[in-house]
């Protein structure tokens, strides 16, 4: 297998890199969908095996790039880890080179390249973007045109879908309970609910939930706190159904929610949350952050 020797070389290079610890953490996270700071846990895994796993999970370079950048986006030291992601990507792309390609310095094709046709609108040009020296993640992904992002979070479509499949007021009560406090049907809560539009509640929830799982758990807790399950469950599930698409593949790379059977091109599944607030406290240890509820 032509990749064996290059796998050794890649592993060696990354092990000897000055930031090898961070490299391992990032690769680990991209494989396991969880951030790990504990050295003992990390020591139990061989870097080479993790690289292999990451390679297996990401059949194309685009996918690899996307997975790495998705992890980076969840971290509080994004700038540092974007560089680390770039190092990993530059090394690991060697694993994707087909044997006919002599060097792989220029224009190396991804191993399982776009020949499936499913990635047709993924021009070679895009591929080359990854070979320049810019940090990969935050560039290639977040530079996507505004129109695309808008298309992704269309408040009108979202609202329409929710109204179609559940009671708008019930949806608002569940959202209110998930975001602020349990809705108690007293005068004060009614007045509060009148000041909040369904749109705003949805956007707020979307902003504080980086993953679909997070969103589900927030809504589930709200439903439990509200009691009287049937209608609230129905509303919560309608919200989840309607918002599922907005999370695209984030759930896949961050949570293993929708494992790697999605053949859409990564650019099509551009992350999605144009409003996601980034950059948090910079305490000593890196952690995967979950944005705290916004104070509004």
């Amino acid at each position: 297998m032509e990749t064996i020797s290059s796998l050794d070389a890649v592993t060696k290079h990354l092990e000897q890199h000055e930031s090898s610890k961070r490299i391992k953490k990032l690769i680990y996270s991209a494989c396991k969908n969880i951030w790990e700071n504990d050295e003992e846990t990390l020591d139990r895994f061989k870097l080479q095996e993790l690289i292999q796993e990451l390679f297996r999970l990401n059949p194309t370079t685009n996918k690899l790039n996307y997975s790495l950048s998705e992890v980076v986006k969840t971290l509080n030291k994004q700038a540092e880890y974007a560089i680390i992601a770039n190092v990993i990507f530059h090394q690991m792309q060697k694993l994707y080179i087909t044997p006919e390609e002599p060097t792989g310095i220029f224009l190396n094709k991804p191993h399982q390249e776009e020949s499936t046709g499913l990635l047709l609108n993924q021009p070679r040009k895009e591929e080359q973007i990854f070979y320049n020296s810019e940090p990969i993640s935050l560039n290639s992904i977040e530079k996507s045109p505004n129109s695309q992002i808008k298309h992704q979070y269309n408040q009108f479509d979202l609202r329409q879908n929710i109204m179609k499949y559940t009671n708008p007021l019930r949806a608002k009560i569940v959202l209110f309970s998930a975001l602020d406090k349990k809705f108690t049907f007293n005068e004060e809560d009614w007045l509060k609910l009148k000041t909040q539009k369904l749109d705003d509640l949805l956007l707020r929830l979307f902003n504080i939930c980086p993953t679909l799982r997070e969103l589900e758990s927030k809504l589930n807790s709200a439903v439990i706190s509200l009691g009287k399950p049937d209608e609230n469950i129905q509303a919560a599930s309608a919200i989840i159904q309607s918002m599922r698409a907005l999370y695209g593949d984030i759930s896949a790379s961050a949570n293993g929610y929708n494992p790697f059977n999605n053949t859409q091109s990564p650019e099509m599944k551009t992350p999605v949350n144009p409003y996601q607030k980034t950059g948090l406290n910079d305490d000593g240890n890196t952690c995967q952050f979950i944005a705290p509820p916004t104070k509004e």
Binding site: Q160, N167, L169, K197
Partner: protein
């Protein structure tokens, strides 16, 4: 009749409660699907989260009734009086509200998709965030004439709604989505349409005089013969819009994007088109008396027979434009 009696009789299979006096009744969350309450008095009643889908409430009195979260899908509310009713988050999808009185009704986040609102009076109603997608408010002579005068439709979803001939003067439609909506012959004078989305909307013969359209998107909209006198159109996107014979006198249109728009015979006298993008715009026979085109981009525009002797073209780009006399500027 009190709530217990009504519920008991309904449970026993009785569905017709014509002209019943139910003023102030509390039917919170009651399941009354398909009930007939024609001409019933439900004024000040509490019907929060009640199930009234396919109910018949024609000519019912629902003044000040609490209907928040109520389900009235496919219900018939012809000529019902819902003045000052609270319909917060209620769902009225496909409901028949012809000639209903909805003045001052509170309809925040209400679902009115595909509702028939012909002849309904929604003056002063709060429809903030409501969904009126595909709703029908079309005027029909001597039959129906809907009014939304002074209503609040901020961020309302009106995609594909039929608003032909509707009175929308002074309405707040800021941030609303009116893509594909039909607004022909409607009165939008002095309306607030800032940031509104009007893709492919039909605004032919519409009165939009004095309206505020700042930041609105009117890509490919149809505005033939429309009156836009004194309208605020700064920075509006009118790419590919069809505006033949429109009146744009004194319009504020600086920075507007009119490329590929068709403006034949349009009246732009005294309009402010500074820094506007008029690339490949069709301005045949346009009237440009004292039009301010300072810094505008008119490259490849067609100005045949346009009257522009008093237009201000300081710093305008006329490369490749066809001038009024047919010569081409290079």
């Amino acid at each position: 009749m009190d709530a217990n009696e009504l519920l008991k009789r309904y449970e026993n299979g009785e569905t017709k409660f014509i002209e019943a006096n139910l003023n102030g009744i509390n039917l919170f969350g009651a399941d009354l699907i398909g009930i007939a309450l024609n001409k019933a008095d439900l004024g000040h009643a509490i019907l929060i989260f009640s199930y009234l889908s396919r109910g018949i409430l024609n000519h019912a009195n629902l003044v000040c009734t609490k209907l928040s979260g109520a389900n009235l899908n496919q219900a018939s509310l012809i000529s019902a009086n819902l003045h000052d009713a609270n319909l917060h988050g209620a769902t009225l999808q496909g409901a028949d509200l012809r000639n209903a009185n909805l003045t001052l009704a509170y309809m925040l986040d209400t679902n009115l998709m595909n509702a028939d609102l012909r002849g309904a009076d929604l003056s002063g109603a709060n429809l903030n965030g409501a969904c009126l997608r595909g709703a029908n408010l079309r005027e029909e002579k001597r039959m129906y004439s809907a009014s939304l005068r002074g209503a609040n439709l901020h961020k309302a979803d009106l995609r594909g709604a039929d608003l032909t001939g509707v009175d929308l003067s002074k309405v707040d439609l800021s941030g609303a989505n009116l893509s594909e909506a039909t607004l022909r012959y409607a009165d939008l004078s002095d309306a607030n349409l800032s940031e509104a989305i009007l893709h492919n909307a039909s605004l032919a013969d519409t009165n939009i005089g004095g309206a505020n359209l700042k930041g609105a998107n009117l890509m490919n909209a149809r505005l033939e013969r429309s009156n836009l006198i004194d309208a605020e159109l700064t920075g509006v996107n009118l790419y590919g819009a069809i505006m033949a014979d429109a009146k744009l006198t004194r319009c504020q249109m600086s920075g507007v994007n009119l490329s590929f728009a068709r403006l034949n015979r349009v009246d732009l006298s005294r309009a402010n088109l500074r820094q506007a993008n008029l690339t490949e715009t069709d301005l045949v026979d346009a009237y440009l008396a004292r039009t301010d085109l300072t810094g505008a981009n008119l490259s490849k525009a067609n100005l045949i027979r346009a009257e522009m002797s008093s237009a201000n073209l300081t710093g305008a780009n006329l490369r490749g434009a066809v001038m009024p006399d047919g010569t081409i500027n290079y």
